[in-house]
Symmetry: C2
Subunit: 286 residues, 2 copies
């Protein structure tokens, strides 16, 4: 069983991103990311801080706009519109979850599509789903998974891929990316009857269901590549995934650990995508 | 074996559409569709004429803008922009195929998303794919197939659906519509290894591969519901589908004929969607 070392692949990707940032700086452009964080969700506090630190480490500009939990839709929208206009900012993201009185969907749709570093805007989702030509951002967790699969030279065309979970952030965009790469993809979800019948046939099994250690070896085809998108903290503070690692490692051919698998790839992909947006903004200007 | 009678369902749908048109007219609004047709493709000539006739028959306004094959991108774009601004026009479509010197993708993306009666604009595709709330148009052939499945009371949640073909017009949007209705969907295509292994498991098999009579009974699970999206004309002038009807009718539980299956549903759906756009335009004004 080979471990898919997301931490190592992310390090590699971050090194390339740092070089691209340095090249852009020589041309007088510093890629800039803006994170809008509303309220006091403790997980969000950690995530936004990590994004900020990583951006700075790679030589980028990072703006963290922290608004109180009482901020109104109009206040958040006004901040967003400033970033939309700010030529120093190439990527904007709204840290989820937002306080419940805010309309997250409307805010995401108000991000300029060419600054939509999370790839959540309907315009960018549609481009991805139709496999349109040209440059556009895509959701970072799926992007990171694709980079990892490519790093390990995993052939996708003609492979049977099963995605557990049909979320907007992971399952759906990943499906589009994989279909565009000629895989045969089935998305299974809570309404699927006999999901094992699908998962046991999968050459590549991607799990993003938000249930700790729910996927055990009986669901996995011997030799399959298993990607674990989940992350949960146990009462003892240990990080675990949606996959029961100790069980699945006995049958899988390749497996991502948690931590050190998909997680580091997501943030590295966010950084790489910010640089993409900065590069594309120059080309668009010419 | 039950025939899924698209012609009858379309008739039913058109009657409802005509009533909705009449109701809108009482409020002073006549739904209007504009078709932009460039060049002299003979199939397009028939399709555009049929759309025009059907729109008029249902009481709607129909504008057919026929441009010569030599029309430039700028000329077509100018016509499009006029329709974008025209309050009498609620739905705009560009008849495909266009002469090769024209950039069809750019033209489709220039249609106002709220007048995009074909549902091809990336913005509307993204909304569909993310199952977003609110009103937006979707591709008419998939919409017609869903209406037909619903008409016959076919349960979708938990069903195994296999879609043969991953086109932007049919396979992809249909997949999104079916996932949003809780089906378990696999899209098979020319890179899929052993496609029979998938199709033979399908409770619902939808075929849009553009190959005459390619799907025979061996590919079909006994009792399955089979939807044939293909349409081809034989040398003798007979219309046939992607499904070998005489072979598949021996095993399928339900089957769409060609002609009289998906085809009439597509144009009826286009008409219904034009009325949707007209209705939504009023609500947006209020």
């Amino acid at each position: 069983m080979e471990i898919l070392n997301g931490k190592a692949v992310a390090k590699n990707l971050n090194e390339r991103t740092a070089k691209r940032v340095a090249t852009l700086k020589e041309r007088g452009i510093t890629p800039g990311i803006a994170v809008i964080y509303v309220g006091d969700d403790p997980a969000s506090a950690i995530y936004t801080r990590n994004k900020d630190k990583m951006a700075l480490r790679l030589g980028m500009n990072s703006q963290l706009m922290h608004l109180p939990a009482t901020a109104t839709q109009e206040e958040v929208m006004a901040v967003l519109q400033e970033y939309n206009q700010d030529p120093m900012i190439h990527g904007i993201l709204i840290q989820s979850p937002l306080p419940k009185h805010l309309d997250e969907h409307a805010l995401v749709q108000a991000i300029r599509p060419d600054k939509d570093v999370d790839g959540f805007h309907s315009m960018n989702v549609g481009r991805l789903y139709n496999n349109e030509p040209g440059n556009y951002p895509v959701s970072c967790t799926p992007r990171g998974i694709m980079t990892m699969l490519d790093h390990y030279g995993i052939e996708l065309a003609g492979k049977r891929v099963v995605i557990m979970g049909r979320s907007i952030l992971v399952g759906r965009p990943l499906q589009a990316l994989l279909i565009n790469r000629d895989a045969t993809v089935t998305m299974v979800h809570r309404h699927t009857k006999d999901p094992e019948a699908f998962t046991r046939q999968a050459d590549i099994l991607i799990v993003g269901i938000g249930q700790p250690q729910a996927v055990t070896s009986e669901l996995v085809k011997p030799g399959a590549i298993v990607i674990d998108v989940g992350i949960h903290r146990t009462e003892k503070g240990k990080l675990i995934g949606d996959v029961d690692y100790d069980s699945v490692k006995e049958v899988a051919g390749m497996l991502t650990p948690v931590p050190g698998g998909v997680g580091p790839m997501t943030i590295a992909s966010l950084m790489a995508q910010t640089v993409d947006l900065a590069e594309w903004s120059i080309r668009d200007d010419q």
